[in-house]
């Protein structure tokens, strides 16, 4: 085939998407990385190299907050991995049972919290857990566990875990759906073959289904990781920009917001904000690379 002329229509088809994507996503991303290398001195933007990062990691005023936020963020992620994903897998395993009735109804109902905004979810739980309203304590009282009640969101040692669990409550629908989809693709013959060999029930789940859905669990893990490391809305709705009590629920998203916009007496600093954003970018990039090159390529995939 010879080339008649330049095919303008390809350009026309690609241009809008590429322009918007480049101008609003890729360019600002790199511009943010660049801004992290500047600082405002006497109302002027001055190039300072890696000084902002040096302050962020080493200057006690900044580094204490940074490591605190990073540590909290890791704990936030760990809670999701340990609670959200196992519950999601368990629900999916039950839902995918071939002779379960009302499966579609359960599925839609359990997914409802996932469609609500963090603002709604955050305030709803804040009210329910509030000692003033007393729903949580009176419900615990009904089962004789009133002694267990504490103002969880107000105590430094519980607040972050409580928030992570609220977030788990909200997002359990995502792993449930994805695993459910993966379980449905397992052919009946494979399970029947297992049955003939006496592998049924729980052992069928552990020995046959689980290995087959590992790639989906990998995808969920990386989605959870990326989602958690740029989380912000829930903490901001429930605890405000100060991520109280005493910064015990501060994560990178709230830390960046506070730094960028300022709060109370501290002035906003876009350059330090960019430095934190760059650190978040690096963390997410490392996570995604570990997944793509370390986990995904090594995972055994079975041809079904």
């Amino acid at each position: 085939m010879d080339r008649p002329r330049f095919r303008w229509h390809i350009v026309v088809f690609l241009a809008p998407a590429v322009l918007v994507y480049t101008a609003v996503m890729i360019f600002p991303l790199f511009n943010t990385l660049r801004l992290a290398l500047y600082s405002k001195i006497d109302q002027e933007r001055v190039f300072v190299g890696l000084e902002n990062f040096q302050r962020l990691f080493l200057d006690p005023i900044w580094s204490e907050q940074f490591w605190n936020a990073l540590g909290n963020n890791f704990w936030f992620f760990v809670v999701h991995m340990l609670v959200q994903n196992p519950i999601g897998v368990a629900l999916a395993a039950v839902l995918s049972h071939p002779r379960l009735r009302f499966a579609a109804l359960y599925r839609s109902a359990i997914f409802i919290p996932t469609i609500l905004s963090f603002v709604i979810v955050g305030f709803a739980w804040k009210l329910i857990l509030s000692p003033i309203w007393g729903i949580a304590p009176s419900m615990l009282d009904a089962v004789g566990l009133k002694a267990l009640f504490a103002p969880w969101l107000g105590k430094e040692e519980y607040a972050l875990t409580t928030l992570a669990l609220i977030s788990v409550w909200q997002y359990v629908g995502i792993p449930m759906m994805l695993i459910y989809a993966a379980l449905l693709t397992i052919p009946e013959e494979v399970l029947e073959a297992g049955e003939i060999d006496g592998v049924t029930g729980f052992s069928a789940f552990w020995k046959i289904k689980l290995p087959l859905i590992l790639p989906s669990i990998g995808i969920i893990s990386i989605l959870t990781f990326v989602g958690n490391f740029n989380a912000f809305d829930l903490i901001y709705s429930v605890q405000g920009a100060l991520a109280g009590p005493d910064f015990s629920t501060d994560i990178l998203g709230t830390f960046m917001y506070r730094t960028f916009f300022g709060f109370q007496l501290q002035l906003g600093d876009p350059h330090m904000g960019s430095a934190i954003a760059s650190a978040m970018f690096a963390i997410i990039l490392v996570g995604v690379c570990i997944y793509l090159f370390g986990i995904q390529t090594r995972m055994r995939r079975y041809q079904l």
Binding site: P16, L91, Y106, I112, I120, T185
Partner: protein
């Protein structure tokens, strides 16, 4: 048929577990909704009782409607969501068509470039986005939000739509070419109608995160006249913390539109999620 897979005890246990979890999922929403229709006294005395003739009250809703401009917020959210979805679908489908239909130099690289954004959250670039919106005067306009959400939604849209467009029959497009249709007519008249299910999947995937987002409205469009429903309820509730009737009513008003949308689109959403489009 095997015994272990059809025994009644197992079935009861499964239903028990699912009902228990469904209750956990529903409970907070239920408590908020019923209490929004009760008097202040009853909210505290009997938080778990349904509203009856004695305890029924709409005082919270009256406060909300008087104090907050929820219809305006709703309208803003609606414009932003529909506008963003329109551009995501139009631009995304066009780019997906270019990538899946034509062979040209740089096709692979362009595909990879557009796919980068699937994993990298756009929030990382917030500082520079705000700076750009201030410079272009778009700050505190709905356009700022529409542009950001369009950019955020495009990578996954292009990815999903190009998978589907590869399946559109080659013969159909060639028949159109022989009839002398332009490439644009082929795309809009022949291909787009055929990938409508995939477009619906992309739309429902994007709809919920856009509607619920708090970060960008807070940063790019915090002014009263462009507040979205999510930001509007956040600010409203923050101001009325002690007025429980108002807070509960505001929450219910924020929940209802999403619930209605979910009832309409849940089949589409669940089909999209379970069809493996996210892989």
């Amino acid at each position: 048929m095997n015994k272990a897979r059809s025994n009644p005890v197992g079935a009861i246990a499964m239903h028990g577990a699912l009902i228990a979890y469904t209750l956990i999922a529903f409970f907070p929403v239920f408590v908020i909704l019923i209490n929004s229709f009760k008097t202040r006294k009853k909210i505290f005395r009997e938080p778990l009782a349904l509203p009856d003739a004695d305890s029924f009250s709409l005082v919270g809703y009256q406060t909300v409607l008087k104090q907050g401009d929820f219809f305006l917020y709703f309208q803003n959210s609606f414009i932003v969501t529909v506008g963003s979805l329109f551009f995501i679908l139009l631009f995304g489908a066009m780019a997906a068509y270019a990538l899946s239909e034509y062979r040209f130099k740089g096709n692979m690289i362009m595909g990879l470039y557009l796919a980068l954004g699937i994993m990298i959250p756009i929030r990382i670039g917030t500082v520079a986005i705000l700076e750009m919106m201030v410079q272009t005067g778009l700050v505190n306009t709905l356009w700022a939000l529409i542009l950001v959400y369009t950019a955020q939604g495009l990578p996954l849209a292009v990815f999903i739509l190009s998978e589907f467009m590869r399946q559109v029959s080659e013969d159909l497009k060639n028949a159109g070419r022989i009839d002398g249709l332009s490439e644009y007519t082929i795309f809009f008249r022949l291909v787009l109608p055929l990938v409508r299910p995939a477009m619906a999947t992309v739309a429902v995937f994007n709809m919920i995160p856009i509607w619920n987002d708090l970060w960008f409205p807070l940063i790019l469009a915090p002014a009263e006249e462009v507040k979205t429903l999510t930001l509007g309820s956040q600010v409203f509730i923050g101001q009325f913390v002690t007025d429980w009737n108002a807070v509960l009513s505001a929450l219910s008003m924020a929940i209802l539109p999403v619930l209605i949308l979910y009832v309409i689109f849940s089949r589409q959403l669940i089909r999209g999620l379970t069809s493996g489009a996210v892989k």
